[in-house]
């Protein structure tokens, strides 16, 4: 009797776990499956494509498709006119290639990478100093600073969108492409700084103070301690915070959509994908392939830091 109840119970439990896994994973399965399907296969509810279609990935990653759209006669002309210099040839070719049909995935990817990387780097550097300061040094106003950081990381988003846009527009930074990128990086630093400060502060407090005292007796100054003791001892936490900031910046849509509106060449992936979706080139396989390629770097980063990150998240350092 007892045994029978146990079997029923563990079967139910197994089903519950399966249901949870299914619920978490089915949109990803949907995404992967659709990215590999031909358009005639979309209505087929099965997730396994009747025939695997890799065109979308090839197109996005620019593999083998560079000469596809160029008419035969032009290609012939180019190969038979030795008078033309390389740059002239390229100019002619690019006329046919840049019809606006192709989604410049790699370019957007590079933009996203640059913005997210620089923003998280600056954010982490500043917060190492700041977090060390308020986890170790005694100074007047320390608790106000700490509480202030906690307070501001509750707010953000739309509340800051209009004033920040006005401030940056008035400063003239948004008039040039370089200035726009700088503004966006500053915005992302602001968005991630409170989290970084909070998470790193929590971590630094777990490092025994006696190590620092010993170093001080050996004659090391505070900066020496930060560089030679604190950073090496907390490198895993620093990497975790870096990746967490990176993910926030990588995923950000709202500020990018406002700031980069007039610079198509600077689009980051979220805004590029959204534009692709509402354009006439919206084809499910291409959108899903682009989604997969956007998600994969983040997933890999997450998997690599998962143990540390979940600890850090649970310690209270979170932000949306």
């Amino acid at each position: 009797m007892v045994k029978k109840r146990n079997i029923v119970k563990s079967t139910l439990f197994f089903l519950l776990i399966m249901a949870i896994l299914f619920f978490c994973l089915f949109p990803f399965a949907q995404m992967l499956s659709l990215s590999l399907k031909y358009s005639w296969d979309w209505g087929n509810p099965s997730w396994i494509p009747s025939k695997v279609n890799l065109e979308a990935y090839k197109e996005l990653l620019n593999i083998g498709g560079s000469l596809k759209d160029v008419p035969e006669s032009v290609r012939l002309l180019l190969s038979e006119s030795p008078d033309l210099t390389e740059t002239q040839k390229e100019a002619i070719l690019s006329k046919y290639q840049s019809t606006g049909d192709v989604f410049p995935f790699l370019k957007y990817f590079a933009n996203s990478l640059m913005v997210a990387f620089l923003a998280s780097l600056i954010s982490v550097c500043l917060s190492i100093l700041g977090a060390y300061s308020f986890s170790r040094l005694v100074f007047r106003g320390r608790s106000v600073v700490q509480r202030g950081v906690l307070f501001v990381y509750m707010f953000g988003g739309v509340l800051l969108l209009i004033p920040l846009y006005r401030i940056f527009a008035a400063s003239g930074l948004l008039d040039t492409p370089a200035g726009t990128v700088v503004s966006l990086i500053i915005i992302y630093v602001v968005q991630t700084l409170p989290v970084s400060l909070y998470m790193l502060g929590n971590y630094f407090r777990t490092i025994p103070y006696s190590i620092e005292e010993a170093a001080m007796i050996e004659g090391l100054g505070r900066f020496g301690i930060i560089i030679r003791i604190i950073i090496p001892l907390s490198i895993s936490a620093i990497v975790t915070v870096f990746i967490y900031c990176f993910m926030i910046a990588w995923n950000e849509y709202m500020f990018a959509s406002i700031f980069l509106k007039s610079y198509k060449g600077l689009y980051t992936l979220p805004i590029g994908l959204k534009t692709l979706f509402v354009s006439k080139n919206a084809i499910w396989d291409r959108i899903m392939a682009a989604s997969m390629l956007t998600a994969i770097p983040v997933m890999i980063l997450f998997m690599s830091i998962q143990k540390n990150l979940t600890g850090g998240l649970a310690a209270g350092g979170v932000k949306e």
């Binding site: 949870i20 896994l21 978490c24 700041g130 040094l137």
Partner: protein
């Protein structure tokens, strides 16, 4: 009493040492503080200032006092947006919390491959919104999506294929489901780490006393996770109330307040004055709720 010269230099040395620490402390934290003050606190105040003006096409502003507030509060679209926001916040917070707690309780039990399952559950939370949002759009696609395939073709709950995301009246439900899916892992993670800290001997003692699982849940687990869950509910309300990306990218038909503000300020006539007003109202509604919640539920 006279202090010896040596002692006094020592006191002096200590004093300058402490002063040095003070200065260094401020020096190190200063860049962060400057950035936060100038790019978070100042904009919040500047936003309140902007809400008192109206802007023409060239960006010239003229003072209107509380004119924007009168306009916004009389605007039926604002009230609809507020209603949609409340519906969205209440249901998403409820859904993520219940699901998160249930999953945390389940994954707190021992079973094979538990570590793997635990990390898979986090995937919805870490995946970029922009990429999963399209998968969900396809799920709700009226022609090819599996939602309609199941609920229309197989179960017949819907009499015809409807475009849930495209219809402004139903899009909010898709947004709610999507948000629950995306954010329940956060609650799960927090609750799980709290559950792992619960003293196991409490359950053993309860077992000896013959308490059922439900009784154990009520008498031990519930009180143990009460404060974590109430704090998490507060966080989720704050975040879901301000949520923009998840809603707007799924469907701009879902006019929650943040989407409404965004559209008001950056599309069409680009009304910065009313946009800023909306943001200020949103800020105060939220502050009001936080104060109420902290006092009544968290009892601080």
């Amino acid at each position: 009493m006279q202090t010896s010269p040596r002692a006094s230099t020592k006191v002096k040395a200590l004093k300058t040492r402490a002063q040095q620490e003070q200065r260094l402390g401020w020096l190190l934290v200063l860049p962060s503080v400057v950035i936060i003050l100038s790019l978070i606190l100042y904009p919040i105040i500047y936003n309140m200032f902007l809400s008192l003006f109206t802007f023409d096409y060239s960006g010239q502003r003229s003072f209107v006092g509380f004119g924007n507030y009168a306009k916004v509060l009389a605007d039926p679209e604002f009230r609809t947006a507020l209603g949609t926001t409340i519906l969205y916040v209440v249901l998403t917070t409820l859904g993520t919390t219940v699901l998160g707690v249930v999953v945390a309780l389940a994954l707190n039990k021992e079973f094979p491959l538990r570590g793997l399952v635990r990390s898979i559950v986090l995937l919805p939370y870490v995946a970029p919104v922009i990429s999963v949002v399209f998968a969900w759009q396809f799920v709700f696609d009226p022609v090819n999506g599996i939602f309609m395939d199941i609920f229309h073709s197989k179960l017949g709950i819907f009499a015809e294929r409807v475009n849930i995301v495209g219809d402004p009246n139903t899009a909010v439900w898709a947004a709610i489901v999507f948000s629950i899916w995306k954010n329940f892992p956060f609650i799960y993670l927090m609750v799980l780490s709290r559950l792992q800290a619960v003293d196991k001997t409490l359950y053993e003692a309860a077992d000896v006393d013959g308490a059922s699982s439900w009784q154990q849940f009520k008498a031990i687990t519930m009180p143990e996770i009460y404060y974590v869950v109430s704090a998490l509910i507060l966080l989720r309300v704050i975040w879901n109330f301000n949520k923009f990306d998840e809603v707007y990218l799924l469907s701009s038909n879902v006019r929650v307040l943040s989407v409404y503000t965004y559209l008001k300020a950056f599309t069409g006539s680009m009304d910065f004055g009313q946009g800023a007003t909306l943001a200020v109202l949103q800020f105060f509604i939220l502050i009001g709720f936080i104060l109420f919640y902290v006092k009544k539920v968290l009892k601080w």
